[in-house]
């Protein structure tokens, strides 16, 4: 029986070369014995095997190659033969890559998972100790005992992470050394772990104090940090004492007499409550004198339930004596985050078309019929929801206040919600669009659509047409404003 001897270092690459050669020569899996030993990577130890399978070039999905090469870092001595056999079956199509119902493939995937975990644990549990530096770079060394021959697969991570220092990771079989930016692997000769490092005391201090004795969960710890790693972890020596002391420490915390909160805490809570109640009361009755004060008080508004999920109230914005007031529906996602009206996509459209119609946004008072964003959460997005009549009515108090304080000569109602809030009904918006209605106090209201309505039109041509009409509306409102003194 021909024997393929693979070197301890560079095993995976050597296996790949040999496997490719054997497959090309048509050597069946059962005709080869694989083992690790000393010597050159491509030794056919005894007589050449007889070809009995069709010669083939192996072509595999990239993922398959990666999984096989990872699984080859398992300690199972049969891994080379099994992987070669699977390789041939994958190549001749008798097993499909990804078919977990095949026992051989399933075993490969399981071993690959074990190896990945072992590599991950090595990345986690290697503990470097500092050695005297020989040059300008600091020097560290670690002793680690993996269960599987993963040294070469695990080392590149450390080169990416510890690029500016020299280090060595010594395992019972392999020493990986990184000196002046070059990584090399050699067979281990000296199995003495490096001497302890002064920083380990600080690390143990941290470990002992970050532990919460009231949440003792030993099993959860051990499933992730199995005992076999403990002997090389400087902190693990503390574990038994921490566990033993935990119940007592937790009980002592429970038993200790609680501290009376200082009197100022209660006083502060009372003051806050009084302030909140005060503003709620004022929001219901008395009227704040000026816009900044109104805005501050609106922050505490609880007239409807929308405050609970929104970030903040979005109050109107603009000159306190603006001649034109524009009213939209409610703040959207952007407005809710920024705390300012019309700063999102609809606001951008409004700005563009207002400018085109000869209006300067900085001269307008821009606000909404409802001051909190109403939405329903969908994963990481928020879906706009139309405010209901109750919410519009509740919020009209603030809109009325803004009208009283600003006293605009002309109001532009954008969309049905704004129209409903101002005039009592939003019905027939498209019919009423472009017309002027009068409020009870005589203020003219120019009716148009909401910019979001335009943005929601699916058809690009319809959007262009609607934008044009919106611009014409704004121009008409502008012209109307000129006729009002």
């Amino acid at each position: 029986m021909p024997e393929v001897v693979l070197p301890r270092l560079g095993t995976v690459a050597a296996w790949r070369t040999e496997a490719r050669r054997l497959a090309r020569a048509g050597i069946p899996a059962e005709a080869v014995v694989w083992r690790i030993g000393a010597g050159e990577p491509d030794l056919f130890a005894s007589e050449p095997a007889r070809a009995s399978a069709p010669p083939r070039e192996i072509r595999l999905p990239r993922e398959a190659v990666e999984v096989i090469e990872t699984a080859l870092c398992h300690a199972d001595p049969e891994r080379f033969a099994r992987s070669y056999a699977l390789l041939l079956r994958l190549a001749d199509g008798s097993v499909r890559w990804g078919d977990r119902s095949d026992p051989a493939l399933r075993r490969l995937l399981a071993q690959e998972k074990t190896v990945r975990r072992e590599i991950h644990k090595m990345h986690a549990f290697v503990r470097f100790r500092e050695l005297p530096a020989t040059g300008t770079r600091r020097t560290f060394a670690a002793w680690f005992e993996p269960d599987h021959p993963v040294e070469e697969a695990a080392a590149p991570f450390f080169t990416r992470r510890f690029g500016d220092m020299d280090w060595a990771i010594v395992t019972p079989e392999v020493t990986s050394r990184f000196v002046n930016g070059t990584l090399e692997h050699v067979l281990t000769e000296d199995r003495t772990p490096p001497p302890p490092d002064g920083t380990e005391d600080l690390w143990r201090t941290y470990y002992a104090n970050i532990f919460n004795p009231a949440r003792l969960m030993v099993k959860a710890m051990q499933s992730e940090m199995p005992k076999r790693y403990w002997k090389n972890l400087p902190e693990a020596g503390l574990i038994p004492d921490l566990i033993r002391g935990a119940a007592g420490r937790a009980a002592a915390m429970q038993a200790a007499a609680p501290t009376e909160p200082p009197a100022r805490t209660a006083a502060m809570a009372r003051r806050r409550e009084a302030a909140a109640e005060g503003s709620a009361r004022r929001a219901g009755a008395g009227e704040p004198a000026a816009l900044p004060q109104a805005k501050a008080e609106a922050e505490a508004c609880r007239r409807c339930g929308l405050w609970a999920h929104a970030t903040q109230v979005v109050f109107g914005e603009g000159p306190p004596r603006a001649r034109m007031m524009m009213v939209g529906e409610q703040p959207g996602d952007r407005e809710d985050l920024a705390g300012r009206p019309f700063v999102g996509p609809a606001g951008q459209l409004l700005d563009e078309e207002a400018t085109a119609a000869g209006l300067d946004r900085s001269t307008l008072y821009v606000t909404n019929a409802v001051k909190h964003f109403k939405f329903s959460p969908r994963g990481k997005r928020r879906i706009h929801q139309k405010p209901d009549a109750g919410e519009v009515t509740a919020c009209r108090w603030w809109l009325d206040l803004e009208r009283d304080l600003v006293r605009p000569r002309l109001i532009v109602a954008m969309g049905a919600t704004a129209l409903a809030s101002l005039t009592g009904t939003g019905a027939g918006i498209l019919r009423r669009r472009g017309t002027v209605e009068r409020l009870e106090d005589g203020t003219p209201v120019f009716v148009t659509v909401h910019p979001s309505y335009i943005l929601r039109l699916p058809d690009a041509a319809a959007q262009t047409e609607e934008r044009r009409r919106f611009r014409a509306d704004l121009a008409a409102a502008h012209a109307l404003l000129g006729t009002l003194d």
């Binding site: 399933r106 690390w203 501290t259 200082p262």
Partner: protein, 406 residues
């Protein structure tokens, strides 16, 4: 001096342990292959150790100082607590981070702080630590900064440039709870701070008008933490708040932290055993919301999650008419609702269906947990039984078990 540092480390790590987050994954990929710096980040995070409380230790999680002018009843560091106080200097935090990192103890730094006289001064020192790590030490590992509400916007701006993740804790699930137990904190202030981070992150993602990519802001996102069991909020309120937070601020994670006894408790908030199982169920429910297409009102119907069975199983037991599910014909959405099927399992089932029927005996190799899935599925080789039995639930409820202390 050395002993002094150890004492400070003891105090300021003890003070930091009630923050649950230790994530160090995601964000920007960096390494130090060029030999000019230290550290790497951006892959899957690594847990370098586990404490006997089962929590992973991935970051050096410390407070810059545990002096605090706030008096939050649940917090060990509140102004009225009698714990010993300490304060790290900028240099001390930098040294600890670098020396721990070089020995492969940690993935990076998670720095939080008590609020001292001025929020700007506190945040300024935290930013200085992050900047020193990045600019002087060329540190390319992970940095998570807790932002201080009411700190100046420039400081938050800088914090986001040096840190991978920013977080601010909402602390309590309801605003009423917050104003009772943390009277100095403002729910509005916290929400505005999270909104601000989201806007800054999105602005940093868009190429500027000059076509240059602006510097990245908090590439690993923002997260928050809610304390469970300190106020009266039920699970539906907690999960409702969480799903709002995910939607509003694009959070990477919401952490749930069972209210845990602290060394010097406040009379305003008597100590209880930490509701660890409840916390666990909330995390399971959080996963169902984010990756399995469940809505809050589906899983927390009675207000509280079922402690005896996990939320997915509880949903299936309560909606037996939707089962059994045919493994070979059901939609992805429905497969995701099968107890014992995870997202990976469902992906594998769907991929395998393209090549032929999936048999019952193939399922374990695809990662399915048949102990849970069995009554709820149909597949060649398997007909479920007892789906309508009143005793079905009892099969899943573990018999009461004496807890042992190892």
């Amino acid at each position: 001096m050395k002993r002094d540092l150890a004492r400070k480390l003891a105090i300021l790590s003890d003070a930091a342990k009630y923050d649950a987050s230790c994530a160090s994954s995601g964000g920007e990929r960096r390494d130090s292959k060029d030999g000019k710096g230290l550290g790497s980040a951006g892959g899957t995070g690594i847990c370098h150790a586990y404490a006997p409380d089962g929590r992973c230790i991935s970051l050096l999680k410390i407070l810059m100082t545990n002096f605090c002018i706030f008096d939050c009843a649940y917090c060990v560091n509140r102004a009225s607590s009698r714990v010993e106080r300490a304060r790290f200097s900028v240099e001390e935090v930098v040294t600890l981070t670098i020396e721990f990192y070089r020995r492969n103890y940690i993935e990076g730094l998670f720095l939080s702080s008590g609020i001292i006289r001025s929020p700007d001064e506190t945040m300024g020192d935290m930013v200085r630590i992050a900047r020193t790590l990045r600019e002087r030490e060329n540190f390319r590992g992970y940095i998570h900064l807790k932002t201080i509400p009411d700190a100046a916007p420039e400081l938050i701006e800088q914090a986001g440039l040096y840190a991978d993740r920013l977080s601010i804790n909402v602390e309590l699930p309801t605003e009423a709870g917050l104003s009772r137990l943390a009277p100095e904190k403002s729910a509005l202030g916290i929400r505005k701070a999270m909104a601000d981070v989201r806007l800054k992150r999105e602005a940093a993602r868009e190429p500027s008008f000059r076509g240059r990519r602006p510097s990245r802001f908090a590439p690993a996102g923002q997260s928050t933490q809610m304390i469970v069991g300190a106020d009266g909020a039920d699970d539906a309120a907690i999960l409702g708040n969480a799903s709002t937070l995910y939607a509003n601020y694009g959070l990477s994670r919401v952490y749930y932290s069972a209210f845990s006894p602290i060394p010097d408790a406040s009379k305003a908030l008597p100590l209880v055993r930490p509701p660890l199982l409840r916390e666990h169920r909330l995390y399971q429910a959080d996963w169902l919301l984010r990756f399995y297409g469940f809505a809050v009102d589906e899983i927390a119907q009675g207000g509280m999650l079922d402690l005896e069975v996990d939320p997915k199983l509880a949903w299936a037991l309560a909606h037996r008419a939707a089962f059994p599910v045919d493994v070979n014909r059901a939609s992805r959405e429905m497969l995701l609702r099968v107890p014992g099927f995870g997202t990976k399992t469902v992906g594998r089932i769907l991929a395998a269906r393209a090549h032929g029927a999936v048999r019952y005996e193939h399922l374990p190799a695809m990662g399915a947990v048949l102990k849970h899935a069995r009554p709820f599925i149909v597949a060649p080789g398997w007909r479920p039984q007892g789906l309508d039995d009143a005793s079905l639930r009892a099969r899943f409820v573990a018999p009461p078990e004496q807890l042992s202390l190892f």
